[in-house]
Symmetry: C2
Subunit: 148 residues, 2 copies
């Protein structure tokens, strides 16, 4: 056997498959949330707010792994849709505390439905046991990469 790795070696890796399938999944999901006036990053922000893991925009930027200026833009758009409120933190008036509105929770619910519909399309015909194992594996892997 040769130690020169070809395309088969690359295709066997997690990063290659996660990268290609991730782009595919993101496109499918984006197409479905587009009619809600949202992009995937909006859904990520709504989910982070619902999970209550962060409040200030700086914390959210770190959580989502994006620049603080992008949070401003995403929050502006969600606010225009009536999905979030910005409240000045009375203890530190530099901080804007973002909170979900009922409309924001409704939109998050629609995003979850969109993701489930995209799942059904993506995994159509896949063995249910294998699909469950895949979901569990992804969840376990993702849990190791939550920003602190």
């Amino acid at each position: 056997m040769s130690d020169v790795k070809g395309s088969a070696a690359l295709r066997a890796t997690l990063v290659f498959n996660l990268g290609t399938l991730g782009a595919l999944a993101a496109d499918r999901f984006a197409a479905r949330v587009e009619e809600l006036g949202l992009k995937p990053k909006h859904a990520g922000l709504l989910a982070a707010l619902d999970a209550g893991s962060a409040a200030s925009q700086q914390e959210l930027a770190a959580r989502l792994g994006v620049a603080p200026s992008l949070i401003v833009s995403l929050a502006d758009q969600l606010q225009a849709l009536g999905a979030v409120e910005r409240l000045r933190d009375p203890d530190d008036r530099r901080r804007q505390v973002l909170t979900l509105t009922p409309e924001g929770r409704r939109l998050l619910s629609r995003c979850a439905e969109a993701a489930e519909a995209a799942d059904a399309e993506l995994a159509a015909g896949l063995d249910p046991d294998r699909r469950a194992a895949l979901a569990e594996g992804l969840r376990a892997l993702g849990a190791r990469h939550v920003p602190h």
Copy 2:
């Protein structure tokens, strides 16, 4: 129980986890192939050529799911690195047939090593059985989405 889905429902989906982990994996891989002068799409093109699944630039564009004009740009850069050759198809002189050079195969091998190194980093501490199941599940899912 409520039928209003929150962030937990979204985080349980394949598309959400594939999307977030895919972006993470792509970044890690990109950082490692950067020193080779390559981006992930270059690696994808090298792998497609090595697999022999396509020859003309139009076929490669369809295979990778990108615009034909992007193949021109990627092939230009790979040609400048001495990784691919462009040969006019004598049967149809409109066609440019791309072929890997020895240097191209060497670069592909380095890409595979970069992906394996990124895998080790990404899956560090993950149970080996779970990791194997994950790799197998991704491979099975990806096989369902190869462009025809």
